[in-house]
């Protein structure tokens, strides 16, 4: 199956949606804050919104081409769209909802998605996770060539979300369809997608695998989204082949990466250790600061200290008796940092 080819240019309230994307038999997630144009983009692919300029095609079949005036209505585009709140038809049973998209595959999909026992229930009687399965089965009943998912996990509570994330990821891999999903949650994108595009004000600022985005975020915004630390500073070559980076607050950080001029220093939170005083050891970087916030994440705690965030085990946080406002030292190795060159006039 050929790739899904999308070019969209469409004015939104304060900026333009400008996206060029080709999706093969893979899952691509567009991740960005709400209002970045994610839903509009999906709707444009599905045919629910007609963009000002653009084209959508798959396998040489043109769904949209504003140059030639082609714009197929949604019912003639072979897409399956899973809506954010699932948009199940409240007056139809589970079986009828799934069969709405196509009768031929309905029974098989009900069986495959474990929905057969729920077939005669109405959507109002289902749990959030069950609704999501119905929505996905319904979207697939049409045997679409493209699958679109709008915040597929947002309508679920935290626990169901964790359970369903793995299940949904598995399903998407099995299907092997060109799949586009949009979400505001980077972790969801990382769990479900092969490639992730970070969408800011209508534009994809970076597109890559989750590992690529974490290793070399193109901007502080991308870094913030992926959850890694991104420190801006001026780099000069230092001793022992290390690069010395002077941060805005006057402190200095060392990196084994070469670099000069304006750079971003990337450190993943789990490479940072915390102590009451600077430990003697091989690590070169010590940043002293006050604890700004403590955020539990499962069995770990994210601790914001000065300009960085460290992720340590809940047990360590307990042992160190960390409290907001207290002074601690964040330590990380020069070898644990990546340098990303920044344009001199790059936005903060």
């Amino acid at each position: 199956m050929g790739p899904l080819h999308i070019r969209v240019s469409h004015p939104l309230r304060v900026f333009r949606l400008e996206i060029a994307l080709d999706v093969g038999a893979e899952t691509v997630a567009l991740v960005g804050p709400s209002g970045a144009g994610k839903t509009t983009f999906l709707r444009a692919v599905a045919g629910l919104v007609r963009p000002e300029h653009g084209s959508v095609a798959i396998d040489g079949e043109v769904w949209l081409d504003t140059k030639t005036g082609v714009s197929l209505p949604p019912e003639r585009r072979s897409v399956g769209l899973v809506f954010q709140e699932y948009a199940l038809f409240p007056h139809l049973t589970v079986a009828e909802n799934v069969a709405y998209g196509g009768r031929a595959r309905a029974a098989e999909l009900l069986e495959r998605f474990g929905l057969a026992p729920l077939a005669q229930l109405h959507p109002g009687e289902l749990s959030g996770g069950e609704r999501q399965r119905v929505a996905l089965a319904r979207a697939l009943a049409r045997d679409p060539r493209v699958l679109l998912l709008d915040e597929p996990l947002a309508a679920l509570d935290t626990q169901t979300r964790a359970e369903l994330k793995a299940e949904l990821g598995e399903r998407l891999r099995e299907l092997g369809l060109p799949t586009l999903l949009v979400t505001h949650d980077y972790d969801d994108a990382a769990a479900l997608a092969d490639r992730i595009g970070v969408l800011v004000e209508g534009q994809i600022v970076q597109l890559g695998t989750a590992a690529e985005l974490v290793a070399a975020p193109a901007s502080p915004f991308v870094a913030e989204f992926t959850g890694v630390n991104f420190l801006r500073g001026a780099a000069v070559p230092g001793f022992d082949g290390l690069t010395e980076i002077r941060l805005a607050d006057g402190s200095t950080v060392y990196s084994t990466d070469p670099g000069s001029g304006q750079v971003g220093v990337v450190v993943v939170p789990w490479e940072i250790t915390l102590a009451r005083s600077a430990p003697a050891g091989s690590a070169r970087n010590h940043l002293t600061g006050l604890i700004r916030a403590l955020t539990p994440v499962g069995n770990r705690v994210r601790v914001s200290v000065g300009p960085v965030t460290a992720e340590i085990t809940a047990a360590s946080a307990e042992q160190l008796e960390l409290r907001p406002g207290e002074q601690v030292v964040a330590t990380f190795k020069a070898a644990g940092t990546r340098l990303v060159p920044l344009a001199p006039d790059a936005p903060p």
Partner: protein, 274 residues
């Protein structure tokens, strides 16, 4: 609220209810059941009831048949002039019926705007049974269409979008999603419009006249009998109440019956409550 306040409130409610129900009660008290049945045998009353039923039902079919798709378009699409179109549809609501009647004459009367054109086709509308139907459609349709527009406009748009992305064209989406989800509100509007149509008086008498067996509907017959025989007029009034209640019940039962016998039953409760 104080005890005195509650008592006063209860008295106000009782007076209001009495005011509304007393005239109806008086009507039925005035006519012994025997007379009521006897009136059915009297020619004038029977003719009037039959004319009323025939014209009201035909007019209602026209209102539902044309009003529903129009309401769907106005309720679910946005286009320039939409608000003006809705205002035009609602206009007869605020028009005095007598004005509606004279306006219909001015449009379709023999010397009216389209009178000559219609005559060219051998059609003469005023003072025919067709004119009764036209008058009822003109006066009663806003009661249904207005409600239907509101019902369609309040549908969850994403359900309509979902239907389209699942391969259903606009027509199938309307039939399988729009209609069933709006059914409760459409039924209510339909009942109102039918009741208004059955009671139509002013526009009908001016545009269609009051010819027994042809254009004399039950309300017109009541007016005609008033001078001749007050008791007959009262009996006709009581009959009209009974007929309208019966027809309303039937009109509301038909959709429920259709639902219960369809291949894919749509539970009434769930569609009405959403």
């Amino acid at each position: 609220m104080t005890r005195l306040g509650s008592v006063l409130l209860a008295i106000v409610v009782a007076i209001a209810l009495a005011f509304l129900l007393l005239p109806l009660l008086a009507l039925f008290l005035r006519v012994p059941p025997g007379t009521l049945v006897g009136q059915l045998g009297s020619g004038a009353a029977l003719d009037a009831i039959l004319v009323s039923l025939k014209t009201s039902l035909l007019a209602h079919a026209i209102i539902l048949g044309i009003g529903t798709p129009v309401a769907w378009v106005l309720g679910t699409r946005s286009f320039p002039g939409r608000r003006i179109a809705i205002a035009a549809i609602e206009l007869p609501l605020v028009l005095p019926p007598a004005v509606a009647g004279i306006a219909l004459l001015a449009a379709f009367g023999r010397r009216g705007l389209l009178g000559g054109t219609l005559e060219g086709f051998g059609i003469s509308l005023p003072f025919t049974q067709a004119a009764v139907i036209v008058a009822i459609v003109f006066v009663a349709s806003p009661f249904y269409v207005r409600q239907a527009i509101a019902a369609f406009a309040s549908l969850d748009r994403t359900l309509i979008d979902a239907s389209r992305t699942l391969g259903a064209g606009p027509l199938r989406t309307f039939r399988r999603i729009g209609l069933p989800l709006a059914a409760g509100a459409l039924g209510a509007g339909s009942s109102l419009a039918f009741a208004r149509g059955l009671g139509e008086f002013g526009a009908t008498i001016i545009f269609a006249g009051s010819f027994r067996g042809e254009t004399q509907t039950a309300p017109l017959a009541i007016y005609a009998q008033l001078d001749l025989d007050f008791d007959t007029a009262v009996a006709l009034g009581a009959l009209l109440i009974i007929v309208s209640v019966a027809v309303l019940a039937a009109v509301n039962l038909i959709p429920a019956w259709a639902r219960s016998t369809s291949v894919f039953p749509i539970p009434f409760a769930s569609s009405a409550s959403r």
